[in-house]
Symmetry: C5
Subunit: 96 residues, 5 copies
Amino acid sequence: MNIGRVVGTVVSTQKDDKLVGTKLQIVKQLGLDCAETGSFVVAIDAVGAGQGEVVLYASGSSARQTPITKDRPADAVIMAIVDSIEVDGATTYEKN
Amino acid sequence: MNIGRVVGTVVSTQKDDKLVGTKLQIVKQLGLDCAETGSFVVAIDAVGAGQGEVVLYASGSSARQTPITKDRPADAVIMAIVDSIEVDGATTYEKN
Amino acid sequence: MNIGRVVGTVVSTQKDDKLVGTKLQIVKQLGLDCAETGSFVVAIDAVGAGQGEVVLYASGSSARQTPITKDRPADAVIMAIVDSIEVDGATTYEKN
Amino acid sequence: MNIGRVVGTVVSTQKDDKLVGTKLQIVKQLGLDCAETGSFVVAIDAVGAGQGEVVLYASGSSARQTPITKDRPADAVIMAIVDSIEVDGATTYEKN
Amino acid sequence: MNIGRVVGTVVSTQKDDKLVGTKLQIVKQLGLDCAETGSFVVAIDAVGAGQGEVVLYASGSSARQTPITKDRPADAVIMAIVDSIEVDGATTYEKN
């Protein structure tokens, strides 16, 4: 999985039927210092993440293993909201 | 998923039988500012996207989860036409 | 899918049983201008592509969706021979 | 698979139900000289790796082939703790 | 598939049960000139490749399509030992 921050949304009315009702979030990838790496993905949100939240997202077929993404043409899913990140014994991120 | 723009097509008569009847679109990848990144993919169109349209495409096995791509040897699918993109509260793209 | 050109072959006698009888083609990746990108893959040929031909190849599990590659340990397949490529209304490649 | 070192953990309470009870480890990728490459992944730990340990991790659908990750939305798994690495006849890493 | 050379092994006693009995080979990726690209993977050996041999390896779910890797948490497999490589009509590699 990768760490990312939800920064926005994509709206689409004309899409594959299986995507109706899903929320398409834009997630910028973060490094361990929570700085942006310059990459982003559009991911289906399976956990109700809000704008600005730090999340984990999974890619590929693993993105279809949630009830919300099962059998859907989606290659990225937000599957966790991050509470805290600890690296080498130090807390590098903590949700307010 | 990634954001892209449909810029052209690939025509092939000699191809795997399961690809007969599919439309092979060339999609240039876009950044969040809708500028081209320099990458492109050839994707099967599952939503009837037109030349120049901004779309979402999925890659890998997820590309086979639409009725049009199921069980076909295709690793990229256009599964949504983008209406609008919102980043950090600002609309960065809106379809005319 | 990516666009490529068949430039050669790999011969192997000691290989997984499921690969017996397959043709292993070396495919150099091409850009939209049909210039080489510097990357290549070894792909199983599902369409009888000849040396020098411009082809489409699919990667990952999608590479196993042809009769020739089904259930085989192959992560790339040539699934179409390209007749023509059109970008922004101009034909950038046409097979002789 | 890739070689990595466990450097920390991600804690998440709000996550997909199938992830409850899994341990989310941060794994920095290592080169053959055991130097960090600059990349990292968040992986589910299937073997009880400790902080600082050198491990192997698998990505993609292969990450779901352990009892701990089966059917879960996880695209990376720690599936082995490394005892030793031998390159060109020399031992480049040995666990204490 | 990619071309690589077997340069070493990884030994692990504490690993997922399904990996018991598999041989974990370190494979350096090669270009068409058989020069190292700087990348490597740890792959399960399905064909009995020896130290120094030039091989083909497959990645992702395709790596699980051999009898030795089926259902195992492995994302790379050596599935062929290369006898010869021919590029643009010239033999660029031939096994002794």
